[in-house]
Amino acid sequence: MVSQIDPVAIDTIIDRYQGEEGILIQVLLDVQHEYNWLPQEALKRISDRLGIAFSEVYRVASFYKAMSLTPRGYHLIRVCLGTACHVRGAPRILDKVERAINIKAGETTQDMKFSLERVNCLGCCALGPVMVVDGEAHGNLVPAKVEEILNEYY
């Protein structure tokens, strides 16, 4: 995949933490925010600048959930599967979303429109089961309502 990584932008992020220790995770999170994923060139630049082996940078980037090593879709759908949502029927919501956009959790649609994630508690259990699209919460869901909500994002 060809991507446009501006080394200067990466350097700017790194420079914010000048002189501090243990910043790799913070830098990766900032780059993730900037590009919505972690392109390989960015990881290489970070590895060079911080003097941390590429394998170690990769290991950290692949360990944490907030970091993505593949490009993510335009809209991010997060279906909460925390315990409260689970007992209120969240698995059926996830099923329905997966069928509606024809991908599994953790995947992105081919047209790069949607990425689907399952998350383990968004802290708004009163609304469960809940699905968050681009930060907007849709609560007290039933499977029959899912498609109607997703249509708003097409």
């Binding site: 999170l29 009163a126 919460a137 029959a144």
Partner: protein, 644 residues
């Protein structure tokens, strides 16, 4: 703002804001915790600000967006001070009425009050609502009175007076003694005595020491730490600074989940303000004590909430646990002595310093002191954050505060302690809640998640759910945890899919025990709890799945079928139109029939069938009856009688 340079200056400043404020002026507080925000509370706040401007009332009434009030079920919540008039489920369209009636004419808007679903009684004040009435909100109570982005609000309520007392009137050893005597135990899950931790760290042989706030709250269904940090960040900072002074640390870390953007934002604001006022930085309040706080965002790994793993994550590495034969209070971040406590634990510290160890120890039970915040969620009427003295019974929490189970369903179990906890059945619902009682029941306190389950919850599926979670979150470093959890998950999945065999229960018990005994960290050591506790209390449900291929709660997809009862179907076409797999045949006046071969068991037909018909039935453990023959599917309606 010039930095405050002494205890006296802080008190003078507090006096000054109190005098300036005047207590009579009404203040509209709007809950803006994450729960209420999801209900669009921000549009309510904006509506208030606009309406007040429109009516020219800027000088007579204040508007304040506060942290989480806790009664998430009824959000967005609006409380009007000083009278504490409480309005629930407020919409932007209600704002004009609230201003014109309550603010201008001092009248109550009746339809926005909380109505007790049982008695039908309305409650005007927050304190009269049963949800609040039966709590003891020592740590969480100030959330609803404070704008978390304004340090003055915290100071008005006595904020930083504990710090001033600790710095000027107490020696570090005295503080540690006070915390030890209070009986405070870690609120993050382990329940380790906080004072002992501090003491060991203070006397650890190194110059540089660290203190850490663990705000990597990862238990699904628990969000009290988030709400505290979002809603009252200074109470956590104050506790941390006191702890740092007692231990002899000059650098602290707050490790907060990236998924909690509001908490991250409010913590940064709070730190900046505390520095500006002289509560952080060099020569705090003129005492000569220096202390700074750094914030690290956690990137989402459940296992990194474990203390040694969190410390490796703070170093910027993969957050995996290590064996703890050398405690982190001796060798933690960068091999320096480090004291880690969770958000709620730190927030308890100012209370103990202000009121004394004896006062604190008078609350709670023999082995667990103080109060605990629980997040009461799941199948319960009043979802929300609940703070009660240790030792309160599960029944009081679930029924008196939580309002019982919705829709008249039967209570089945309550799950405490997150994925490492267990399920407690109805027969034990009168048990008091404290660290040791919950452990004796095969569960644990954990960080305080309390998930209520009703008759529609399958306990085997629940165990499978937690093991699935843990399998995903196990870092894989040690074999017993990695393999043990995986094998238990495989067996549980088989059982829920109708492929359970005789001997599975015993095998699960055996693997669970080995995983518990041989794993490196708490994640693996406690992974057995969801399995063992459900087997202990709900063995019959396991047996039904294995021998009868029946899911008593009607949850496990492979073991249930949906069936339309011919005598109840009114041929309304709703299920037929909503079926995503085209499995339902029928038509106008034609009884609908599910083609079991095409059915994907999504349950949509069951949901959409009008309640007054309730024609769709879940069947488990017995064959699905054959549909009526085609010629018998026409519904003959009785002709209405003609009027003469």
């Amino acid at each position: 703002m010039a930095q405050l340079k002494s205890s006296a200056e802080l008190e003078a400043f507090r006096e000054a804001i109190l005098n300036k404020k005047g207590t009579e002026r009404p203040c509209i507080t709007i809950c803006s915790g994450t729960g209420c925000r999801a209900y669009a509370s921000e549009t309510v706040s904006t509506a208030f600000e606009e309406e007040i401007k429109k009516q020219g009332l800027e000088d007579t009434v204040d508007v304040k967006t506060t942290g989480c009030h806790g009664f998430c079920e009824k959000g967005p919540l609006v409380v009007i001070l000083p009278g504490e008039i409480c309005y629930v489920q407020v919409k932007p369209t209600d704002v004009v009425q609230i201003i014109s009636q309550t603010i201008v004419e001092s009248k109550i808007v009746d339809h926005l009050l909380y109505t007790d679903p049982v008695t039908g009684e309305k409650a005007v004040h927050e304190s009269e609502i049963p949800f609040y009435k039966n709590q003891a909100r020592l740590v969480f109570g100030n959330n609803s009175k404070i704008d978390p982005t304004n340090i003055d609000d915290y100071i008005v309520l006595g904020g930083y007076s504990a710090l001033s007392k600790a710095l000027f009137k107490m020696a570090p050893e005295e503080i540690i003694k006070e915390v030890k005597n209070s009986g405070l135990r870690g609120r993050g899950g382990g329940g380790f005595p906080t004072g002992r931790k501090w003491e060991e760290c203070r006397y650890a042989p190194r110059d540089i020491k660290y203190v850490i706030v663990n705000a990597d709250e990862g238990d699904p269904g628990a969000y009290m730490d988030r709400s505290l940090l979002e809603g009252n960040p200074h109470s956590v900072l104050e506790g941390l600074i006191i702890g740092a002074y007692a231990i002899g640390s000059h650098v602290g870390y707050i490790y907060v989940r990236e998924e909690y953007p509001l908490a991250v934002e409010n913590v940064f604001i709070a730190i900046n303000q505390a520095e500006e006022y002289g509560f952080l930085g060099k020569d705090i309040l003129g005492s000569g004590f220096d202390f700074t706080i750094k914030v690290h965002r956690g990137a989402g790994a459940f296992v990194s909430g474990e203390s040694s793993a969190l410390m490796t994550a703070l170093e910027g590495r993969v957050g995996e646990p290590r064996p703890k034969y050398i405690h982190t209070v001796i060798s933690g971040i960068w091999d320096k002595p480090s004291t880690l406590n969770n958000v709620e634990t730190w927030a308890n510290v100012p209370l103990i310093i202000n009121n004394g160890a004896d006062w604190y120890a008078s609350i709670g039970t023999e082995s667990s002191k103080g109060t605990k915040i629980f997040s009461l969620v799941g199948k319960v009427n009043n979802t929300g954050l609940v703070e009660v003295p240790m030792g309160t019974s599960l029944r009081d929490i679930i029924y008196n505060i939580g309002g019982g189970i919705p829709e008249g369903k039967k209570f089945k179990a309550v799950q405490t302690g997150g994925p490492s906890g267990g399920c407690i059945p109805e027969s034990l619902i009168d048990s008091p809640v404290d660290f040791d009682e919950l452990s004796a029941l095969g569960s644990m306190m954990g960080s305080g998640g309390m998930i209520v389950m009703d008759e529609d919850t399958c306990m085997v599926d629940t165990a499978r759910y937690f093991l699935d979670f843990l399998a995903d979150e196990s870092c894989g470093k040690c074999t017993p945890c990695r393999e043990g959890i995986d094998q238990m998950l495989t067996i549980l999945t088989h059982i829920t899919e109708g492929e359970g065999q005789d001997g599975d229960i015993e095998l699960l018990e055996e693997i669970a025990e080995v995983t518990r005994d041989a794993s490196l960290c708490a994640l693996g050591q406690t992974a057995a709890n969801p399995v063992l506790s459900t087997i202990r209390y709900f063995r019959d449900e396991y047996e039904a799945h294995i021998t009868e291929k029946r899911c008593p709660a009607g949850v496990c997809k492979a073991l249930i079928s949906y069936y339309i009862q011919p005598d109840k179907c009114k041929a309304c076409l709703i299920c037929l139109k909503n079926c995503p797999s085209g499995a339902i045949t029928g038509g106008k006046k034609q009884i609908h029939v599910i083609d079991q071969g095409k059915c994907i068991k999504c349950g949509i037909c069951f949901d959409v069938c009008p309640k007054r018909f309730s024609a769709v039935e879940k069947i488990s453990g017995r064959p699905v009856p054959l549909p009526p023959p085609i010629e018998a599917r026409t519904i003959r309606e009785r002709k209405p009688r003609r009027k003469h």
